[in-house]
């Protein structure tokens, strides 16, 4: 008798342990993830209606408007211009940043590399600079009247190029992101490189592989999972670009307050005080990013993670 009772007690306690273990995570998930998302979706289905001049304290009434905010968001050309702009921004930034990160990682990993620890630190350092500070820094470098490059151009006798003009602003903003993000991605790829088995290199060298061919034919394919990882994270981060254009906006007239989708959402929510429209736009953008991320993962899944 005592044995079976104690066994039942122990199994009940043992059964409860997993739930107790994930309870904090579940509570935090519900409180800070699921509930705000649910509230945003709820807000996106509501709107404000004003009576008369709107100056009476009770003139504003919040009510259900169904899909009106969504049809407005989907039909808003400014939002889609922002999406296209962000895609163009990403199309330039991602290859350059990941290409540079891969190049630096391969260079650091090559046998003849010197001062590797210093180089690693130096390349990683820009990532430690907060994004807003980095944008301010580059803003000062870009503006002809305050840029430290101005004396150099003056010495060469040419006017300093206007990198904040309409034709170059995309590259100028992307440059800030590249400067800040290359180091981080380089570390990830480099770590993956150092984990590669050395006997593969020896086999390749015995086959007469040069350093460059070794990098291209052997190393890159073997770090493909790391590349996919950094690529996916970079895509997700790039499509949400907000801090760099917002910080550069006051110093140039070529960046509008709705330059990227996230800036438009922020402007609608807090500049125009229209939280409902902003919620609908946020849901639209989030769904787009989910679809993009999942399809990307599908495409690269097989190639990168399949039959290793």
């Amino acid at each position: 008798m005592p044995t079976s009772r104690s066994r039942r007690y122990r199994s009940l306690g043992t059964r409860a342990v997993p739930y107790a273990a994930i309870a904090p995570a579940a509570v935090l998930f519900a409180a800070f993830f699921a509930t705000p998302i649910g509230f945003a979706i709820y807000m996106s289905l509501r709107g404000v209606h004003v009576k008369g001049l709107g100056l009476d304290p009770h003139a504003r009434v919040e009510k259900w408007v169904g899909t009106r905010n969504y049809s407005q968001a989907l039909g808003d050309s400014e939002l889609w211009h922002g999406v296209l702009r962000t895609l163009a921004y990403g199309a330039f930034l991602l290859p350059v940043m990941l290409g540079l990160a891969l190049l630096f990682a391969l260079l650091l990993d090559s046998a003849r590399a010197r001062l590797t620890r210093f180089a690693r630190l130096a390349i990683f350092l820009p990532y430690a600079v907060p994004v807003v500070i980095a944008s301010l820094l580059w803003g000062f470098l870009y503006l002809p009247t305050v840029s430290p490059f101005q004396p150099l151009f003056h010495f060469l006798g040419v006017p300093m190029p206007d990198v904040l003009s309409n034709s170059t602003i995309l590259f100028s903003v992307a440059n800030v992101g590249i400067w800040g993000g290359t180091g981080y991605n380089m570390i990830v790829i480099y770590t993956s490189l150092t984990a590669l088995p050395a006997d593969v290199y020896e086999a390749a060298k015995l086959d007469g592989c040069s350093e460059i061919a070794l990098a291209v034919r052997v190393k890159i394919p073997m770090v493909a999972p790391a590349l996919v990882l950094t690529g996916l994270f970079s895509i997700i981060a790039t499509l949400q670009v907000f801090s760099e254009p917002t910080t550069l906006m006051p110093i140039t007239k070529t960046i509008s307050s709705t330059w990227t989708p996230l800036m438009k959402i922020y402007n609608d929510a807090f500049g125009r005080n229209d939280l409902y429209e902003a919620a609908a736009e946020a849901v639209v953008v989030a769904v787009m990013m989910l679809v993009l991320s999942f399809s990307l993962l599908r495409v690269v899944n097989k190639r990168a993670f399949g039959d290793n």
Partner: protein, 438 residues
């Protein structure tokens, strides 16, 4: 095993301590920090948001002389930043007791049930303010939504030494101004007579107001919106011509590059409100005492008119639990002699209280402009009255986007205003306002 458990226990303890520390120091409550001690045992504790420089010193004077009502001051970044914060916290019902409200934001705030009616205390001091300014805080009705603190009638500030150096005369009319701009380009190719407000809709609003433009108006229960009316287009075309001819600088203001241009004489004049001397002391510190002050160039040489740029009131919010005490503080702050003297000397505001206006001496940054009070009073009396609409922030954002683009060379400024008009009307209609004659 033992050491691992100890390490993980230590780590867990650290995390818990950090969480507790983080939770207890959260700053989501409206009472910000200030250099004065927290209200210890006082009957009433009020929180106050404002961006006026040195306001904390004035609040300290109140706290010292009014032990029963303690005011905690929290400095804000600026007008737009505070307006956004206030509207968001209004939804959460966590507004502070007292806020600074720019005149153009008052209709939006009233519409969002932000401002409490303080007519009971405010009507007693109604006579201290001009009817034009009083109208901005009452919106034409019986309720009083705030107490005017300062006003911003626009004046023409010019670099005395550089005007003398290039032999330029102070322009009396806008035609004079255009001719002067061409003259400046001839004599000093790298300098500009002035800058166009590319990202300052408040400045342009004042210039349009001077010309007689009526951007918003009410008739019955419908609004009329005229951001692209003939007068606005006239003003826009005037500046458009100068920008396109390269005679006026079109770079955005309030940037380090603009500060430098104001400081080193690349920009020779500024059409700004009477609060400009205080701003110039930080923007162009090397130009102390080198700015002359005159009335704005006029459209009609026979009379003097000007517009308003900025100016704000102080208001009590609907969330306040001590509205009477808060209103008393506001009456003291904006009409009491000691308080207004401090506002003039410490905060650099040009007060809206007509008694205090008489006590304004030459600005600290421009000590040789001894008739500053007279010039400012003339401008104040000559300010064309204006009505602000319920979505000024939308209009200003549309201005920044469209006019900024036009100034970058893509279109004419009048077309930009048509786009602004469309954006504002669409926004108002979407919110359910009745817009007449659109």
């Amino acid at each position: 095993m033992k050491s691992y458990r100890r390490v993980s226990a230590g780590f867990a303890g650290l995390t818990a301590a950090a969480l507790i520390a983080g939770c207890s120091s959260s700053s989501s409550s409206p009472s910000g920090s200030s250099s004065t001690a927290q209200g210890s045992g006082s009957a009433v504790d009020l929180t106050f948001w404002s961006w006026v420089p040195n306001m904390d010193k004035i609040v300290d004077v109140w706290n010292a002389s009014h032990p029963g009502v303690h005011v905690t001051f929290s400095k804000q970044a600026g007008g737009d930043a505070e307006a956004q914060k206030v509207l968001t916290s209004a939804k959460a019902h966590t507004m502070p007791d007292i806020i600074q409200a720019e005149y153009q934001e008052i209709p939006t705030m009233v519409s969002n049930n932000v401002l409490a009616d303080i007519a009971k205390q405010a009507n007693a001091v109604k006579g201290k303010f001009t009817p034009g300014i009083w109208n901005l805080v009452t919106l034409g009705g019986d309720a009083v939504y705030g107490l005017p603190q300062d006003s911003g009638p626009m004046l023409f500030f010019y670099r005395k030494s550089l005007f003398a150096k290039y032999g330029l005369a102070v322009p009396k009319t806008w035609d004079d101004y255009a001719a002067l701009a061409a003259q400046v380009k001839q004599k000093a190719p790298n300098a500009f007579l002035g800058a166009f407000p590319t990202v300052d809709p408040g400045e342009f609003a004042g210039l349009a107001q001077q010309a007689g433009a009526k951007w918003w108006g009410t008739s019955g229960s419908s609004w009329s919106v005229g951001l692209d009316d003939a007068t606005t287009k006239k003003v826009a075309d005037f500046w458009s011509g100068l920008v396109q001819a390269g005679r006026i600088d079109a770079e955005p203001a309030w940037t380090p590059a603009w500060n430098k241009a104001m400081d080193d004489g690349t920009i020779l004049s500024w059409t700004a409100g009477v609060w400009a001397p205080g701003t110039l002391s930080s923007v162009a510190a090397d130009t102390k005492d080198d700015w002359g002050v005159a009335q704005l160039p006029q459209w009609d040489a026979s009379s003097v008119a000007t517009g308003n740029w900025g100016g704000s009131s102080m208001a009590v919010t609907t969330d306040s639990k001590h509205k009477d005490a808060a209103a008393q503080f506001l009456v003291w702050l904006n009409t009491d002699k000691a308080a207004t003297d401090l506002l003039i000397s410490q905060a650099g505001v040009y007060p809206a209280d007509t008694d205090a206006q008489g006590r304004v001496a030459a600005p600290t940054f421009l000590p040789s402009v001894t008739d500053f009070a007279t010039i400012a009073k003339t401008a104040g009396d000559a300010t064309v009255p204006t009505t602000w609409g319920p979505d000024v922030s939308t209009a200003y954002a549309a201005y920044n986007d469209n006019v900024g683009k036009a100034a970058a060379g893509k279109g004419s400024l009048s077309d930009a205003f048509v786009a602004v008009q469309q954006a504002v009307v669409a926004d108002m209609k979407k919110a359910g306002f009745t817009v007449s004659g659109s």
